[in-house]
Symmetry: C2
Subunit: 565 residues, 2 copies
């Protein structure tokens, strides 16, 4: 073996926030495999031991102490197993005692000790990130020496900002730049990361290793897709997306051209988004101890897609679909719901709401929107009854277009603990439904996940279509009054979704939207609906607004967390 | 007039986020009054023109531009009215164009122009504050010269942190330190601010003016209580709490001892908390356009106190109390609810839930907790039906103790857009109910707010007690099964509230709680309940968890905001 070569193992794992022992066990298991395959260095994602993001757990002294003990014990365990030679690079929470906030830290475990600490310099505080609130920043770059080679290190945001540690490392003659990341999935972000990686590799004039975590954590999905890239932009290694993985890449001896390794196949855009939704739900269930889900099946496309995703996440036999027809439900809708449940191998119950609606109306005599909301809320009560009595996770089936416009009933169809398609515009919902049906016909897997009905007969039915075509092609309707259509209240979805993308995603103001070429009436309608819906949504959280007395501070802790003290 | 003297007007006003025109109109009105009373300088709270806190409105270019135009126009309007001599100190959003984030800025309007900008240095990012996320910090202290005297300025957090602008001003020979604030209410915080003010006044060796905003804004209540304090700790002026105010204080000529002005009376602790709750609700209603409220009246103490607060906020005739008895409701409870509504002059409807419960049960056959939750959810549907059909704000009546322990039903009694007593422990609820009855008997006002029933006959009933004594003294029960008592599931409230204060408010871990002297069984019970409830609450938000695709970013905008673009 050329002592100048370094064999890196890229351990793209799925951690759980607060599960210090479980995360450490997984590190040990992957380190064993890496050592068996002759790796010199095994690299894990940002905040490996604690999970990421830890939110206000950072403030708990008991948590920080437990994390430090875990790192110490893990280093000792590795050495005891004869793995002391291996450099095990993990992320964890910092130990500084003279600072009021801890650090987001990278450490190397080697020869039985916790060695070499680097603290994240840039603490992101935008979008879904809140790190400046809970961490104190590091101020120095760090170079790790292994086999006489110089490994510069950085953590996630450090490579997204100019200056700071990467710019320092450019002057420190490093052989490789190693970055550990907890970078949440966004559509198209894989390419953005590779472009960025190429830029930073060129900046430091050395290959860059980008190691990302994978898996769902609360409202985030991490997509993995780790890679190694050369300073000239050549991709040297690419790990798969949306699954745990252990891949290898070797830094060649000094003066040699960088060696290429395996490149995992890329996903098509629909498969990528669908898989992200399924993985998010699957991990949310697993990490929170849910083994089944319940949702209302209306016969419409939204609940159909959510049911398919749920079946892909946990198996059709763990999905309870409840049809809750009213006096306004069409026969077609009821048939479509039943067909879907059969295709998925899901449980299927029918709970008519007309008798309940009449019982309320004999007391309340509601009309208009109040009467429409009443129907949705009766369904919400039924879904929660299934959730409570069977211990199922209730799924909300709203899509981004209708939620953005407030075309949804608070405490009604909005009821649920998880909303798998809340971020999909309606036009995307249709696309994914078609894509899912085609995947079933092709019999192909979905981003490596186990899939329901991908071969005929897996649930005793030939799955030429999973989602009934009628659910995809019929005009969308809430069916809360006779003959109601979404288009009575909203612009056609093709147009609406374009305006929503510009207004919400790209923060275009009214003048910008008109300059985009949208007509004035549509712009004003959509802006009014969105602003009103946002106000309603903020106004009616489950835990309603409170006056902030001394006692009013909410702790912000992860939903999914195994840490209890 | 001694030209060396400066007469300050302290304009403690209630602004509304995003209501640029309305806020500017109010500044103009107070400036007129101040000029009429011969003030040289009139001081307004932090972020006067924009309202505070503005959250993600800071990111909107249309909003920032509109705010700058408002400041320009206001300066011109002041000059046109002949008020150009007056120095008008207001807060607003910064104008810097080369920074990605705007500033939290203080400006002086004088002689028709926007003059002298100081940018907040310390951007709080803890507890309810999120400023580092939306603002860029200033880096220089500023001294404003008026009549040859030197006025150092600072914004809110700048005086809470050591170092920074105050420490710079200590070396700049200032005559007075002027601070503008948006400091939210916490119990006992008034004294903390005065102690801090004294410390900073001593540091700069000059009197300190502390000008705070007043009023409710979303989930915060600002309590006013502006003051002026001498370097030796003598209070020179104190404005009232929980109401708008215009007071004066004169900085004496050089070499003179500081002059004292009027000191508003202090409130007793129960009155302070009660008034904070009422003001928060009152402003939330006014700023969001609600003219009435609906709540379930169970006959218990929580709904009774909330109803009394609501009547104090908007008048009994704008309160709809709905009694929703079940087969488990006692006659006493129904009588207490009716008596309360009569005392308050509130609307009172009875909506029995037994027929509805039976209708659901004929389909669902629930038992145990699922059947208990069903009752609470039927009530939630009824409250929301009133809210929808009459345009009323639904009030949730849960207290801190039961919410912390999860003794509450999601989508049931937790339904509502505002929760006036969510931050009051149960023992405090009882105290405030007793205090409110005594205030009614004394016929005194409540923190300067208009009060229902503070003299007999105001609603045609003699108000010897507003809240029925029986509601205060009977053992608390959810009445969801025969003979149920809170104490079946929870420790006695005297003990529970002490453990909750230690565990939640003071973040004591298990070992700390045992060292506090609580017994092991109680500690473990309470920790288990609280952790489980927190998990449930985070898990079932109204807008459920989503996978974070590109579209997943939520805008964080104020609920109460008048800005629409």
């Amino acid at each position: 073996m050329n002592t100048e070569e370094i064999r890196f193992a890229l351990a793209q794992i799925d951690t759980c926030v607060g599960d210090l022992d479980g995360n450490a066990r997984k590190v040990l298991e992957y380190a064993r495999r890496a050592a068996h395959d002759n790796a010199d260095v095994v690299v894990f994602p940002e905040m490996t031991l604690t999970g990421y993001p830890i939110e206000d757990l950072a403030f708990r002294a008991t948590f920080r102490r437990a994390a430090w003990n875990t790192a110490d014990r893990l280093a000792a365990d590795l050495a005891e197993e004869g793995l002391g030679d291996l450099y095990v690079v993990v992320g964890t929470v910092g130990t500084e005692r003279d600072s009021s906030l801890p650090q987001n830290r990278l450490v190397a475990l080697h020869e039985g000790v916790v060695w070499a600490g680097y603290d994240k310099h840039f603490l992101p505080n935008y979008g879904v990130f809140d790190e400046f609130r809970i961490f104190s920043p590091g101020s120095h770059s760090m170079v790790l020496e292994v086999n006489g080679r110089r490994i510069g290190v950085a953590i996630c945001e450090d490579i997204w900002q100019d200056g700071g540690p990467v710019s320092e490392l450019a002057g420190r003659d490093i052989d490789v730049l190693l970055t550990i990341n907890g970078s949440p999935y966004e559509e198209g972000k894989g390419d953005t990361r590779v472009d960025l990686g190429a830029r930073r590799a060129a900046e430091v004039n050395a290959p860059l290793i980008y190691l990302n975590q994978v898996g769902g954590q609360d409202d985030l999905v991490f997509d993995g897709g780790s890679f190694v890239i050369a300073p000239d932009g050549t991709l040297l290694e690419r790990s798969p997306r949306f699954m745990e993985d252990l891949s290898y890449w070797t830094l060649g001896a000094r003066g040699q051209a960088p060696k290429a390794s395996t490149l995992a196949a890329e996903l098509d855009p629909d498969e990528e988004v669908y898989t992200a939704c399924v993985l998010g739900l699957k991990d949310y269930m697993a990490k929170n101890g849910f083994t089944g889900v319940v949702l209302g099946l209306s016969g419409g496309i939204d609940s159909a897609l959510v049911a398919a995703m749920a079946a892909d996440a946990c198996g059709g036999e763990r999905v309870w679909g409840v049809s809750m027809p009213s006096m306004y439900s069409s026969d077609g809708s009821k048939d479509d719901a039943a067909d879907l449940a059969r295709n998925l191998g899901a449980h299927y119950d029918i709970q008519p709401i007309e008798p309940l609606f009449n019982a309320y109306q004999s007391q309340l005599e509601l009309d208009g929107v109040a009467a429409e909301n009443l129907q949705a809320r009766i369904r919400g009560v039924i879904v929660m009854a299934y959730s409570n009595s069977k211990g199922l996770l209730a799924l909300a089936t709203g899509n981004k277009s209708e939620l953005a416009c407030g075309y949804s009933t608070i405490y009604g169809d909005a009821v649920g603990g998880y909303a798998p398609i809340k971020d999909l515009l309606k036009t995307r919902v249709w696309q994914l439904a078609r894509w899912r049906n085609e995947a079933a016909k092709r019999g192909t897997g979905i981003g490596g996940l186990a899939v329901v009905g991908n071969e005929s007969g897996s649930h005793g039915v030939p799955c030429e279509e999973i989602i009934p075509v009628n659910s995809i092609v019929k005009p969308p309707s809430a069916e809360l009054r006779p003959g109601q259509k979404d288009s009575d209240s909203l612009p056609e979805y093709d147009l609406l979704d374009k305006v929503l993308a510009a207004y919400i995603e790209h923060a275009h103001g009214r003048a910008d939207l008109l300059a985009d070429g949208f007509d004035e009436q549509t712009v004003d309608t959509v802006m009014r609906l969105v602003d009103r819906a946002e106000w309603k949504r903020r106004q009616y959280p489950l835990g309603p607004k409170v006056t902030s007395l001394a006692f009013g501070r909410d702790r912000r802790l992860p939903i999914t967390s195994r840490f209890r003290e």
